[in-house]
């Protein structure tokens, strides 16, 4: 149902140790955030795209579409940062004046907006590398190894499992409602959607009780015990990732 989730299980980097992928993505993300010049995020975008498309084998078309998701927020956010509204005339301000207030752009504001735009795309490239190569189940293994409280890990894994169950239920209810003209007008849409949400809640509630009964019957006590897949460390990946990040840090310090 989610393409990202599908690729996470079927890409060519799936069998790399998840700890290595998480560390690589997060360290690179950190570098993208602290880098003072736009050059570093640009390099990160290029190399992360190369790793995700070239090595992991994610279709380029899908990868590019993913960048459109934050695009709307970025355009709106960056436009607001670049936009200057003031009542005092400034030499560098170019724009239109209405009733003594000037609406426009300064070179400094445009520069800052461009930098943030690029930085954000660089950080998104790191996030996409992680989410497209690492299944959530593997990320949960890493969380357990990092000693995140068991209760939290259990809640995350329950949420993950039941997202798909509940989505299937929502699709069934929605199809049934739509085929009976439940979404024909604004008024009926609200009514149908309200019924859907209320029904789904009760179904969720019942399901959680069934789940608890089933687990108790199988000896559940306070913690969900799951078998974890053991991944061997991949030295080539680790070395490449370390060299890449090291080069970025040196480049950042030099420029």
């Amino acid at each position: 149902m989610f393409s990202i989730d599908q690729y996470a299980y079927s890409n060519r980097l799936k069998n790399i140790h998840p700890g290595e992928k998480v560390a690589f993505a997060l360290v690179t993300l950190l570098i993208a955030l602290v880098a003072p010049r736009p050059l570093i995020p640009a390099i990160i975008i290029a190399l992360m795209a190369g790793a995700t498309i070239g090595i992991a084998g994610i279709p380029a078309r899908f990868y590019l579409q993913l960048f459109l998701v934050p695009f709307s927020f970025l355009v709106a956010g960056v436009a607001m940062i670049a936009l200057t509204i003031t009542s005092q005339p400034q030499a560098s301000l170019k724009g239109v004046t209405l009733l003594g207030w000037t609406l426009g752009f300064t070179p400094a504001g445009m520069h800052l907006a461009g930098k943030i735009f690029l930085k954000s795309l660089g950080a998104a490239a790191c996030l996409y590398f992680l989410s497209l190569t690492t299944p959530i189940v593997d990320i949960l293994t890493v969380l357990r190894q990092l000693r995140v409280p068991a209760l939290l890990v259990d809640l995350i894994s329950l949420t993950y499992r039941f997202i798909f169950v509940l989505l299937a239920t929502v699709n069934d209810i929605y199809t049934a409602q739509a085929s009976r003209l439940g979404y024909a007008s604004l008024r009926t849409s609200y009514h149908s959607l309200g019924q859907l949400a209320a029904n789904l809640f009760i179904k969720t509630y019942r399901r959680s009780q069934e789940l608890f009964t089933a687990l108790t019957a199988r000896g559940y006590h306070e913690e969900l015990q799951v078998l974890e897949v053991a991944y061997p460390f991949s030295w080539p990946f680790l070395c490449l990732a370390a060299i890449f990040d090291l080069v970025l840090v040196i480049l950042m310090l030099l420029t």
Partner: protein, 244 residues
């Protein structure tokens, strides 16, 4: 000539911003906040996560089945946020579920559930991000639920009707979420002349146009959901009050 191009650029940017607004506009995108601010919001949100986990731990001890319910509630919130509600203005938008969740599960559990939902939205849907998880959790899973829950309790105590309490909780919980997001953006990017306040007005201006109709839509929807639950599922609602 120059004036015309500037007008055109301004118009295009505004049109794009308005069109771009509705879908998940409340999540700050990955990497948008500078490192210091991203870290700051994580530090702010940490005590709430700690408190939420402690409170869940205590209720789970006396009622172990509640853990399953909360896990499924996370999935429920995620699925709800993927639905589309027809907005009063004609466009479509996604509900946040902030008000509904806060009333059903209380603000303590919401700080954890909301954080989990935001994590999955970042990983599975590419909405929001890991570095901005702290900031987004603070606005959507801390401020929103607290406002919603507080208002709900206040109106009920003043003997206001259920519908009024739920509507105000859901609508204002939504609105406070976007006010917080605007504040977070304004603090990170103060306007050159004018500072944080001017910057906040800019961000609120853009959110107000897109989020005000959405907040009202969500208020109406939450009232409908609550009415149905109160009519047909009284027992479940009563059982849930153990969470408080």
């Amino acid at each position: 000539m120059f004036r015309r191009t500037t007008w055109l650029t301004l118009y295009l940017l505004l049109a794009m911003a308005l069109l771009a607004g509705p879908a998940f506009a409340m999540h700050i995108a990955e990497g948008f906040l500078p490192f210091n601010w991203a870290a700051f919001w994580f530090v702010v949100v940490l005590p709430f996560w700690f408190w939420g986990l402690r409170s869940i731990q205590q209720t789970v001890k006396s009622n172990p089945g509640l853990k399953m319910l909360l896990g499924l509630a996370g999935a429920y919130a995620f699925v709800l946020s993927a639905l589309k509600i027809p907005s009063v203005t004609g466009s479509c938008s996604h509900p946040t579920g902030v008000g509904l969740g806060a009333i059903l599960f209380g603000p303590a559990a919401m700080s954890i559930l909301g954080g989990i939902v935001l994590l999955f939205q970042a990983l599975l849907l590419a909405h929001g991000g890991l570095s901005t998880l702290g900031a987004n959790t603070f606005s959507m899973a801390v401020v929103g639920p607290f406002v919603a829950y507080g208002l709900y309790r206040l109106v009920r105590r003043l003997n206001g009707s259920m519908a009024v309490a739920v509507f105000l909780a859901a609508t204002l919980g939504d609105l406070m979420t976007y006010v917080t997001t605007s504040l977070q953006l304004a603090l990170a990017f103060p306007a050159q002349p004018g500072g944080v306040l001017a910057s906040m007005l800019k961000f609120m201006g853009i959110f107000a146009v897109t989020q005000l109709p959405l907040a009202i839509s969500e208020g109406i929807l939450t009232v409908i959901v609550f009415n149905l639950l109160a009519t047909y599922n009284k027992n479940e609602l009563q059982e849930l009050s153990i969470l408080d």
